[in-house]
Symmetry: C2
Subunit: 446 residues, 2 copies
């Protein structure tokens, strides 16, 4: 018995030490510290924290773990944690939960929370409605400033939240203006809200796309923007910290999609899930690789006569791929940042063709000269030079037209654009080089 | 004479119409509308706006145009516009101006502005000091709340700015706490600032790197953070709109650097400058392309015997490149977002090796089978299959080790990583495939 006690003692105190160490940390740090553990372990850690604290930790955990916890935690605990969360965080936590479980949870929640969360769950994830919170400090335009102050005090007590912006609405809830701190602090308290508020207040539609919202925040340097529905009714608030998350997500998504990743893969994603996501894409790539191989195979006669031509295939194809990737990256990124207007793609195309021509001359001459010196054949040098020049032009064309074309048919310009451009530069590069070489072989000696 | 008048009339009124159209727009929109025009035209447009408005437009123009304007506008106009700008924007506008011109401008400015701007110009651009503004609403901890309110009122009048956060400092200017709106609105005005402020206030060091700051804002969802010097003295404020700009910049930079672009190229960059930036990089690529070509040339004997092997080079090399790009993108992005701790790279490596092995089996088997059917040689199929498997492993290794290695030697993991990984996958792919094929040719018939 004694021995057993000695064995369990250290385990239990290790857990206690762990908890007391975690208790000194910020909820975001706790989330980071525990996210790699087993679900059961995460649950026992969370049991040691108050509802309010768990609400904050939960928000910072990866989506999958949030869903798992919502599915598996005790129902009464869930129903106490959810009301402590911002409505948008609660909606995120519950977004992937099974319908039956969601119903059981909702049955336990106060009506006001159910309504807020349900509304949010109905908006698409990537719109203003999907990222906004419902909690906004509002006052009526008809209130006196003294009443407005009282309303803010009550609001702050309910939400435990600092009122940064206070919006004024009419009796139908339509957004009319915004109140500044100084108006509340320094004006005569008998004045009406409507007489001191700023009426020139920008808002975003609840249906606005999150990428568009990010561009608005970036361009105009807002810290927060009110969200209105189709009737001008104030329905929520998007703050710049939400926008920061959106921007990081969108940038990650674009980078990933360009190389055929899902857009949501993380280093923490389980390897088997990553493999399952990546392999189909690699198989698509394989198709295009065989296309390039088939082009090469058409020139078997030429290759049989002059096997060393094979050594120049990766040079012509690869350099086209590199130049195409440069053009593509500039274009995809500029499209994402809203820097290319609908009618501006021609200017971009002309620019890239100019760059392609100049680099074609420089790179073509260099590669031609080296090839001539290496193989001792000026004809071969000329063939490589010309093929390179033409392929860099093809790279510029593909690098601009693929993403612009994808956008025109409403597909994400980042999606698969990299593979399409590489296919063009490989196929064109091999075809140009081998057909020029075949002609040269026919009429001249290589 | 009359005819001439008729000719000039419409021109002048077109300008007037342009100006009255611009006058209805937000400064950010005006900047966007005029940024593509000639410098002289931009100057004549800006002449039509007040100093305050020009200050806001200027801030939103591209860096190069800001510098040009600072160099070429009338000195007395510049000296009236600068004081209307936030100190950080003023420092950005003046950052690239020639030393002589800067001195002439500084001589015309009020001493307080000169001091603020000079301090900011001394901080490296990519640190907290480089992105913060000097304007912060501060009160002394020893003040009564009534005095604090008075101080904020004066501050707001000077800066024309909404006080969102009010920081409390001791008599040496050291940050002690933060005041909430509710403390100013609802507490007894005779209370001391020190007795109502929140003392648990997070700050960032003036030397903190901007990427690190972006990660802090993202993780903890701040809207603003005070900046302190080495002595804990409050020296500025970073707001989340500054962070949004940093995040977009960093993401653009990473995307561009991965494909060998400068990190600062835009669609608006002049084509000749883009070409000058891109060509050196393409020449470096050319070196690695010749390396791959040299590997191929070593197997001339094999290629002479079986020319069709050339068709399989792009398949083995290209697929390795694609898989490597996927791994690389995940790792580079995770490093940028601070998701890979120093000791975690082994876990990432193991994960990618697992993915590489599984996709190696799947892709290898597929490519082997197709090759067998296409060329009617099971030996060739086997060679392609094995080479593909090994090359996908090499891709996983290179995709992880190149960026991790670059970071270990304090080089940006995005920089040139793409070319290095492609070089590995090309060289390894060609070598593996051709050497396996040579062995097979020696002992078996392909």
């Amino acid at each position: 018995m004694e021995e057993r006690d000695e064995q369990t003692q250290p385990v239990s105190s290790a857990f206690d030490r762990d908890i007391s160490r975690l208790k000194e940390m910020h909820p975001s740090d706790i989330a980071e510290a525990i996210e790699d553990r087993e679900l059961s372990e995460i649950r026992s850690v969370l049991r040691e924290f108050s509802d309010e604290y768990v609400a904050e930790i939960l928000t910072e955990l990866p989506q999958e773990i949030q869903t798992d916890l919502m599915e598996n935690m005790r129902l009464d605990r869930v129903s106490e944690i959810i009301p402590e969360m911002y409505s948008d965080d609660a909606a995120d936590a519950l977004g992937q939960v099974s319908p039956e479980r969601l119903k059981s949870i909702m049955d336990q929640l106060p009506d006001a929370d159910v309504e807020e969360i349900t509304t949010l769950l109905e908006y698409p994830e990537d719109t203003a409605g999907g990222i906004m919170r419902k909690e906004v400090h509002t006052v009526l335009t008809s209130m006196a400033l003294s009443e407005a102050r009282e309303a803010i005090r009550r609001g702050e007590e309910e939400d435990q939240d600092n009122a940064l912006y206070v919006y004024a609405v009419d009796e139908n809830g339509r957004l009319q203006g915004v109140l500044r701190l100084r108006d509340l602090l320094f004006r005569d308290l008998r004045l009406k809200v409507s007489s001191v508020m700023i009426t020139d207040v920008r808002s975003i539609s609840v249906n606005a796309d999150q990428e568009e919202i990010a561009n608005i925040f970036q361009k105009y340097n807002y810290l927060a923007l009110p969200v209105v529905d189709d009737f001008g009714k104030l329905v929520g608030l998007v703050t710049s910290d939400d926008v920061i998350d959106v921007i990081q997500e969108e940038a990650t998504e674009d980078m990933q999609r360009m190389v055929g990743l899902s857009g949501e893969e993380m280093v923490t994603t389980h390897w088997s899930r990553s493999a399952k996501n990546r392999i189909p894409w690699l198989l698509v790539n394989l198709g295009t690789a065989f296309l390039a191989a088939w082009v090469v195979s058409m020139f078997e006669d030429t290759l049989v006569k002059y096997a060393m031509l094979a050594a120049f295939l990766p040079i012509v194809g690869g350099m086209g791929g590199n130049a195409g990737a440069q053009t593509l990256t500039i274009v995809v990124r500029s499209l994402a940042l809203g820097e290319i207007e609908d009618n501006e793609w021609r200017r971009v195309l002309i620019k890239e063709i100019l760059i392609g021509s100049v680099s074609g001359v420089v790179i073509g001459a260099t590669v031609g000269l080296i090839s001539w010196l290496w193989m001792g054949s000026w004809v071969l040098g000329g063939v490589v030079c010309l093929a390179m020049q033409l392929n860099l032009l093809a790279a510029a064309l593909a690098g601009v037209m693929v993403p612009i074309g994808l956008r025109a048919v409403k597909v994400d310009p980042a999606l698969a654009s990299s593979i399409m451009v590489t296919t063009v530069t490989d196929v064109m590069g091999f075809f140009l080089f081998l057909s020029l070489a075949s002609i040269a072989l026919k009429f001249l000696a290589l």
